[in-house]
C-alpha cells in the first residue's frame, strides 16, 4: 500500500510539471487531461471515491473542452479586429 501511494504521488508531481512545461496551449490541454486523470487516481488511492468521481469528470471531460473551445474562439476571432 505504501509504495502505491508514493508512486501515484510522484506521477501526480510529474504530470503537474508537464502541464507547466507545455507552453503551447493546444498541447497543454492534453497535459491537463492527464493531470486530471492522475489526480483522480490519487484521490481514489487515498480512499476518497467521491472526490475521485468529481475530479475525473471535471478534470478530463469538462475542463479540457472549455480550453479547446477557448482556443478555437481565439483563432476564429483573430481575423476580426
Amino acid at each position: 500500500m505504501k509504495p502505491l501511494v508514493i508512486t501515484v504521488l510522484l506521477l501526480t508531481a510529474l504530470t503537474g510539471l508537464l502541464v507547466v512545461l507545455s507552453r503551447d496551449p493546444a498541447r497543454q490541454v492534453f497535459a491537463l487531461a492527464a493531470n486530471g486523470l492522475m489526480l483522480g487516481v490519487l484521490f481514489f488511492v487515498l480512499q476518497a471515491p467521491d472526490v475521485a468521481y468529481s475530479e475525473i469528470a471535471v478534470g478530463t471531460a469538462v475542463t479540457p473542452l472549455l480550453y479547446l473551445a477557448t482556443l478555437a474562439a481565439l483563432r476564429i476571432n483573430k481575423k476580426h479586429p
Partner: protein, 258 residues
C-alpha cells in the same frame, strides 16, 4: 518588468520562504496517522443520527451545509459572470455559421460517431441521475452527478453537430435548472429559520439507513445541487461553443456599450 528581473525576484522569494516551508513540512502530523477527533465523531455519530451511509454527503449537506450554500452561490456567480462577459460583447443572437479557419478541412461527421454518441449520452445521463439519487447511500451526490450529466450534454454536441444541438438545448432551460437548484437550497436554509429553528436544520422525515430516501434534507439538497451543477456547466459549455461561431457583423467591440 522584463522576464529576467521577474525570475530573479521569484528566486529571492523562494530562498526566503524555503526554510519556513521546510520547518512547516517537518512539523506537519505524520502522514497516515489519525489526526482528527472531529472526523471520528462524525463517522460514529452521523449514521444513527441522520440515517445516511455516505459520510461525505452528510458533512456536505447537513453538518457543514452552510459552507456548501456559500459554494453553491460561488458557482452561480462564476457562471453568471462568465455568461455576461461572453454575451456582453457578442450580443444575444445565435450564430448559425460555423467559424471557418483558412486551411482547415471541414470533415463530415460519420454515422458511427453519431450512433455512439447517442447511445453514450443517454447512458451517461441515466448514470448521472443514478449518481445524484444515490448520493446518500453510495459514493456520489449532487456535485458529481451534475458534472456527469453535463458531460452527457457534451457527447450530444459531438454526435449531432452544433445546429441540432442548439435546437435541443435551450439556454433558458439551463438557466432555469440552475436557478431552481440554487433557490431550493436557499429555501431549505430559510424555511427552518422562519419557524424558529437554526438554518438548514434537518426537519424532514429521516427515512431508514441504506434506503434510497434517507437523510431528510440531505436527499433534497443532493437533488437541488445536481440540477444546479448540470445547469451551470451546461450554460458554460453552451456559451463557450457559441463563441466559435463566426460573428454576424464585422463591427468592432464597442467599449461604451458594455
Amino acid at each position: 518588468m522584463n522576464p529576467g528581473a521577474r525570475l530573479v525576484i521569484f528566486l529571492c522569494a523562494l530562498v526566503i520562504t524555503a526554510p519556513a516551508a521546510w520547518r512547516v513540512m517537518h512539523s506537519m502530523p505524520t502522514f497516515g496517522a489519525a489526526t482528527s477527533g472531529y472526523a471520528d465523531t462524525v463517522n460514529t455519530l452521523a449514521p444513527p443520527l441522520r440515517h445516511v451511509s455516505n459520510m461525505v454527503a452528510a458533512v456536505n449537506f447537513d453538518i457543514r451545509g452552510f459552507d456548501t450554500l456559500g459554494e453553491e452561490t460561488m458557482l452561480l456567480c462564476a457562471v453568471v459572470g462568465a455568461v455576461m462577459l461572453l454575451r456582453g460583447s457578442r450580443g444575444e443572437q445565435e450564430g448559425d455559421e460555423a467559424g471557418l479557419l483558412a486551411g482547415r478541412a471541414d470533415i463530415a461527421r460519420s454515422d458511427a460517431t453519431t450512433l455512439a454518441c447517442r447511445v453514450g449520452s443517454t447512458a451517461l445521463l441515466l448514470f448521472g441521475t443514478y449518481v445524484v439519487l444515490h448520493g446518500t447511500v453510495t459514493p456520489g451526490g449532487g456535485f458529481q452527478g451534475g458534472v456527469i450529466a453535463s458531460s452527457a450534454l457534451l457527447l450530444l454536441y459531438l454526435g449531432e453537430g452544433y445546429r441540432c444541438w442548439r435546437d435541443l438545448i435551450h439556454s433558458t432551460v439551463l438557466a432555469a435548472l440552475e436557478g431552481i437548484g440554487a433557490l431550493v437550497f436557499v429555501a431549505a436554509a430559510a424555511w427552518p429559520l422562519a419557524q424558529g429553528h437554526p438554518a438548514l436544520d434537518n426537519l424532514l422525515p429521516l427515512g431508514k439507513l441504506k434506503d434510497l430516501y434517507s437523510g431528510g434534507v440531505i436527499f433534497l439538497l443532493n437533488g437541488a445541487v445536481g440540477l444546479a451543477v448540470t445547469g451551470s456547466f451546461g450554460q458554460l459549455i453552451l456559451e463557450f461553443l457559441e463563441e466559435t461561431r463566426s460573428p454576424e457583423d464585422e463591427s468592432e467591440p464597442n467599449e461604451a456599450d458594455t
